[in-house]
């Protein structure tokens, strides 16, 4: 362990930015302005030139586009699209106005780029100071080639993490910041703000919390249903999956493999396919109603209102979610169940505990203890469970036509409807942020207390 630790603590080096500015020599301090100067003067020419090139590139970009982008971020554009009469061609020409969406996007992207540049700047300062110190001590300063080889060795994390980080920044973080910004604008179909929009501060949040407005009352009812759904969907799956796993794992059950196969088979069908199938089967004239009619359980022209009655629809999605989810739970819990020490069960048997008592006092507490992180993850997944609701009921039935949300709509599917169908981008973003806040309060709190997080901390 010692070798590794020695290598690893190198990451926390004494060569900090402040030290570089305070104790560096002239060229090192000057690299704060002319990046790479320190490195060039202390024998790392290629590295210095690369830093310099990065700085020049950034400056060129800022002069050409960046400053304009940042300036436009304040107003988000004011020029509307205009018609101009062209004498020569005898036609009206459209002069492209400002497009606030793009301006916002470019502005946010420029900000992120500046942040990245700041990190590179810090890196250049540190590396200049390090080279200076090494030179003063008379020790070896790495050549560029040697620097490159450390990328395959002690610095391999830089090499391996950079491409994923680049894509995460470009395709996850940037869009997320962009959407969060939208929550503070009036980008929506209301009042025709789809091309030009402006910052409005916290107005959208105020509208969502105003329980007298349609939006506000819808938000609260959707939120309540989302939480109810998440609790039911998580725990019905968990308990049912566990009972099933117990039944199959029982000592006396024959053909364990066969039973497991039956259940896993349905989860091997892609989820969106099985959900679409379920939806068509439960239509008023779908297979289930046909089957019930031909069995004589309901009248020949009657049908059960699976997706047309609000209460029926809510129960239906929860029940179907059991059908979809239990095979996964079964797979995941089987291993954990088998790891419960057999002595516990033997001791319980000696003490005369029945099966119910054994389950409540041994199996359930043990499982809850081991699978808490899994439960939290499932709960989070269910709050954000877009597929099941969207593909099954589509949020229907809609009882209140003004609100755009149906009885089975979760916050996420409502968010989808608000943005894609209605084009209320700002409200959609607010709903997204609220979902995040609700989830993170619960999840962060319980993650930090959970066993696996603490163990990782002490690793």
């Amino acid at each position: 362990m010692n070798i590794l630790n020695a290598k690893q603590t190198k990451g926390y080096s004494p060569y900090t930015c402040l030290a570089a500015l305070g104790q560096g020599d002239t060229t090192t301090r000057l690299s704060a302005v002319v990046m790479g100067l320190g490195s060039i003067c202390h024998g790392q020419v290629v590295k210095g030139i690369l830093y310099l090139a990065a700085e020049l590139g950034y400056l060129a970009f800022m002069v050409r586009y960046g400053l304009h982008n940042l300036a436009m971020l304040i107003t988000l554009g004011e020029v509307e699209q205009q018609e101009v009469w062209d004498e020569a061609q005898q036609v009206y020409l459209y002069v492209q106005g400002d497009q606030s969406v793009l301006l916002l996007l470019y502005g946010v992207a420029t900000l992120l780029l500046t942040l990245v540049m700041f990190l590179i700047w810090r890196g250049s300062l540190k590396s200049a100071y390090k080279a200076q110190c090494l030179q003063q001590k008379g020790s070896h300063v790495n050549t560029f080639r040697e620097d490159l080889t450390t990328l395959l060795d002690d610095n391999i994390y830089r090499l391996l993490m950079t491409p994923p980080m680049f894509f995460i920044t470009a395709l996850t973080i940037l869009p997320l910041i962009f959407m969060i910004c939208m929550a503070f604008t009036n980008y929506s179909k209301i009042d025709n703000h789809l091309v030009l929009f402006d910052w409005v501060g916290l107005e959208n949040f105020a509208a969502l919390f105003d329980s007298n407005s349609i939006l506000g009352s819808t938000f609260w009812s959707v939120l309540v249903w989302t939480l109810v759904w998440a609790v039911f969907a998580t725990f019905t799956n968990y308990i049912f999956g566990m009972l099933l796993a117990l039944l199959i794992n029982r000592k006396d059950t024959r053909a364990k493999g066969f039973w497991r196969f039956c259940f896993v088979l349905s989860s091997a069908v892609p989820m969106f396919v099985s959900l679409l199938i379920m939806r068509t089967m439960l239509q008023p004239n779908g297979a289930v109603n046909v089957l019930l009619r031909s069995l004589g359980l309901i009248a020949p022209d009657a049908s059960l209102p699976f997706f047309t009655d609000p209460t029926w629809a809510r129960v239906t999605v929860i029940v179907i979610n059991i059908w979809v989810g239990v095979p996964y739970t079964l797979m995941q819990l089987t291993g954990v169940l088998q790891s419960i020490p057999a002595e516990l069960y033997e001791a319980a048997k000696v003490d005369g505990a029945g099966p119910v008592r054994t389950f409540c006092s041994i199996t359930l507490p043990y499982m809850l203890y081991v699978t808490t992180p899994y439960l939290i993850a499932t709960f989070t997944g269910n709050v954000n469970n877009f597929n099941v609701i969207y593909l099954l009921s589509g949020g229907d039935p809609v009882t209140n036509l003004a609100s755009a949300a149906g009885s089975t709509d979760l916050l996420v599917t409502w968010l989808y409807k608000l943005t894609i169908d209605k084009q209320y981008y700002n409200v959609g973003a607010v709903v997204g942020i609220m979902t995040f806040i609700i989830l993170s309060v619960g999840a962060l709190f319980s993650y930090r207390r959970s066993k696996s997080y603490k163990e990782e901390g002490g690793f």
Binding site: G11, L105, I156, F167, T253, N387, I420
Partner: protein, 288 residues
Amino acid sequence: MKQYKSAKAIRRRNNILIHSLLAVLAAIWVFPVLWVIMTSFRAEKGSYVSTFFPKSLTLDNYIKLFTDTTILNFPQMFMNTLIIAICSCILSSFYVLSAAFCLSRMRFKMRKPYMNMAMILGLFPGFMSMIAVYFILKAIGLTEGSLIRLALILCYSGGAALSFQIAKGFFDTMPMALDEAARIDGCTRWQIFTKITLPLSKPVIVYTVLTAFIGPWVDFIFAKVICRANSDQYTVAIGLWKMLEKEYIDSWYTSFAAGAVLISIPIAILFLKLQKYYVDGMSGAVKG
């Protein structure tokens, strides 16, 4: 002796009860799968049927899927999805495995922040950023023609490195002594990664590769937003979804079932294979 017999009888009764319960449950779980297979061979068209079992069987639904390419070009969708799946599978497996390796075997300053960031990003509704992703791809010109494929590949592989947890958990179970020994013998980290860690991680590699490969086949919401009306770039998932829309459902319903069966078979096979590796991958590598 009598008591022994009655205990045996109770056990017998319980066994019969439990087995019949399992049989009923298994029937419920298997029934929709059987029903869609049955529908895919049904000769009568249309989505709504008056009888439960098909009156006559046919292979036409499968043939239609591959020959009737004027409205919904299934073979092309299949090829699109295959290309996207292969490319994004290679990229995202590389991202996931290398990120997991770094996070598990090395300690560096950005390690904890990165792991916390991954957790926080996971809490946002997944497609909240989707519209923004569309705008970004549009701004760099990836939303026209066959570049859409590249856009989808980037989307599917881009965030992959955020779901490193399973692979990291697997690498964590490998004894550090292996790495130490290798370093004393003069291995670089890269050599440790490629010559020691990866060869020992077959279960988790298979798991990562297969999940990454299955992703594009079963995702439909992202593909729908990015493809918009470019029907020649559709993936299988959008195609199947389209077949159930009002204007197509009557003539395409049975072919939808056929398509569902066709893509379910390979995925089901992969999945059943995967299941073994999934269990192995969760339970760790070389026991130290």
